[in-house]
């Protein structure tokens, strides 16, 4: 084969591979749509936004599931973001070199921990502990799920945020210090704002991680499809969209209404992650341009 021909072939092959990413996304979306859209025809809309989920009798109210996912994700975010960003700042700006060399790999280990393992410990240890310490009616609650999710999401937030902080040019810090600021002031007024884009990306990725988690929440949140009401609902069981799919996925006969509704839930999950990504990207974009204007 001539060299020129090989060049052309390689270029084509590589380009096809590159486009495969879009193709894949489209195929997944198309397939989800194809399997999920019939649900909108088979189940009247008022039923879908009903408050009762009991699929084996044809009651397909999605509201408790969506709210359940949102509650657990929100609580997990409130736990994970402060801890994650603070840890990232610590690693990037405060920790001495030796500690850094230990912490960074440890965070990566944290990221690799299988969620089913954490779920197992959640049932075995966390749920009974919370039941006894907080005097709850049961240890299987949204809060239990949020705790597990929080620690699952933290490593994502820490690695990305730490990379962003690390990427801030040294000159920024030196300049601030030269002007008389101490390290703390430098972090909060110069470094962190300069890394705002990356930190926001980290937060978005963390939220996405928590939102998409399946096994851990399925094992510890009780899976009761109730509509969370008031703050007390945090300490009551909930049912998330992801756990619903995992628990019911195998039971459905292909082509049945239940099957289509589960795919509809999959579409919802897909769209919500899409929305979170797009919002995050636009927020990051605006933050970046503002930061660049301020600091350049």
């Amino acid at each position: 084969m001539t060299s020129a021909l090989r060049e052309r072939l390689v270029a084509v092959a590589v380009r096809v591979a590159g486009i495969s990413a879009i193709a894949l996304l489209l195929v997944i979306f198309f397939f989800l749509i194809q399997q999920g859209l019939p649900a909108l025809a088979e189940v009247p809309l008022p039923d879908l936004i009903g408050s009762r989920w009991y699929p084996i009798e044809g009651t397909f109210g999605l509201v408790p599931l969506v709210l359940g996912s949102l509650l657990v994700t929100l609580a997990a975010t409130l736990i994970a973001v402060p801890l994650g960003v603070a840890t990232a700042v610590f690693i990037a700006e405060v920790a001495p070199r030796s500690v850094r060399e230990v912490l960074k790999p440890f965070i990566e280990v944290m990221a690799g921990l299988p969620s089913v393992m954490l779920g197992f410990l959640g049932i075995a240890i966390l749920a009974p502990e919370l039941y006894h310490r907080l005097r709850l009616t049961t240890g299987l609650t949204a809060f239990t799920g949020a705790l597990l999710l929080g620690w699952i999401a933290i490593p994502t937030i820490v690695s990305v945020a730490e990379d962003a902080l690390d990427a801030v040019p040294r000159g920024y810090r030196d300049g601030a210090l030269a002007l008389g600021a101490n390290r703390w002031q430098t972090i909060w007024r110069v470094t962190l704002p300069a890394a705002r884009g990356g930190v926001l990306t980290a937060v978005m990725l963390g939220i996405g991680r928590a939102f998409g988690e399946t096994m851990a929440v399925m094992m510890v949140t009780g899976n009761a499809a109730v509509i969370p009401r008031g703050w007390g609902a945090l300490f009551q069981p909930v049912r998330t969209m992801t756990a619903t799919i995992a628990a019911e996925m195998g039971e459905v006969a292909g082509g049945s209404t239940h099957y289509h509704v589960l795919f509809l839930i999959g579409i919802l999950l897909f769209l919500i992650s899409l929305a979170v990504n797009l919002v995050g990207a636009s927020v990051v974009f605006r933050a970046r341009t503002r930061a660049e204007r301020i600091l350049s």
């Binding site: 590589v14 801890l83 690693i91 299988p114 996405g208």
Partner: protein, 285 residues
């Protein structure tokens, strides 16, 4: 208190808070790892690693689950590595800066964010039912491959991009073709980063349950799988089963299985870290 002292106190308090936060973040995980190892290591005997389960999974070993995970991740890598690396090279080296490229990047970002259970759903409908693969290693591996594709693409792109452009320029100026430059300079120089990405992808796939729940996993198989169209046991699913489905399960089996999974993940992490630091040392720029 003068302003300077106040600022010092604020700094001290602030640093203290950050340290506390880091401890709160890491300590529970450290305790979890130690707990699993403490309760699980005792159960890891050669028999545990090499024998089949017996007595309703309560005794014997977990070999088929370990092998199943190996088979799944290996098959997955065969698919995702060429595709992902090629796509990464495309983005780093060949792609012009136009709308198509931006769309590809957005697509990858979104693929990365899709919940793993949605991949399981897609895998069930697409590979298991539509392509009639049934619950099989192939269906599971393909589902896992799609799931890890974004990770491999993005790390490959970063790795190739981080090779200084001067390398490529010099190679071409010495008479090499574009592809020769990619093949002999950029790829090898970026290989450590690429390998790290692949290994991290494998690590994630080895630990995920939702994508294989209904595409590949079986609770119990009396023989090892003999073809890619057979179902298989797998470590994360096995942990799920022994920790939630079988009454009278000895804690040793549960913690032992968790420990094996944990050690597998730790091993992959160590390999990735070693490759990365060796690469950094060997870097020619």
């Amino acid at each position: 208190m003068n302003a300077r002292r106040q600022r010092q106190w604020t700094q001290r308090a602030g640093f203290g808070l950050l340290t506390l936060a880091t401890i709160v973040t890491t300590l529970p995980i450290l305790l979890i790892v130690l707990l699993i190892l403490q309760r699980g290591l005792a159960a890891i005997t050669p028999e545990f690693l090499l024998a089949f389960p017996s007595d309703g999974l309560r005794a014997g070993g977990i070999f088929p689950a370990i092998l199943g995970t190996v088979l799944l991740t290996f098959t997955m890598t065969l698919v995702v590595a060429p595709l992902g690396i090629a796509a990464g090279i495309y983005l780093a080296h060949y792609a012009p800066d136009n709308r198509l490229t931006r769309s590809i990047r957005i697509a990858i970002l979104n693929l990365a964010g899709i919940p793993s259970v949605v991949y399981g759903l897609f895998g069930l409908a697409f590979f298991v039912i539509f392509f009639r693969m049934g619950t099989s290693i192939l269906a599971g591996a393909l589902t896992l491959a799609i799931m890890t594709l974004p990770v491999v693409i993005t790390t490959t792109e970063e790795a190739v991009r981080s090779v200084p452009n001067s390398f490529h320029v010099v190679s071409v100026s010495l008479g090499g073709t574009d592809w020769q430059s990619v093949r002999r300079i950029l790829l090898p120089q970026g290989l450590p980063g690429i390998l790290t990405g692949v290994i991290l992808g494998v690590e994630r796939a080895a630990g995920e349950t939702a994508p294989i729940l209904f595409t590949a996993a079986a609770v119990y198989l009396p023989h090892l799988p003999t073809s890619p169209l057979d179902p298989t046991m797998a470590l994360p699913y096995h942990l799920y089963v022994v920790s939630t489905q079988i009454p009278g399960m000895p804690a040793g089996v549960q913690y032992g299985t968790a420990a094996v999974l944990l050690i597998l993940v730790l091993l992959m992490n160590i390999i990735a870290t070693v490759i990365r630091s060796r690469a950094r040392a060997r870097r020619r720029w």
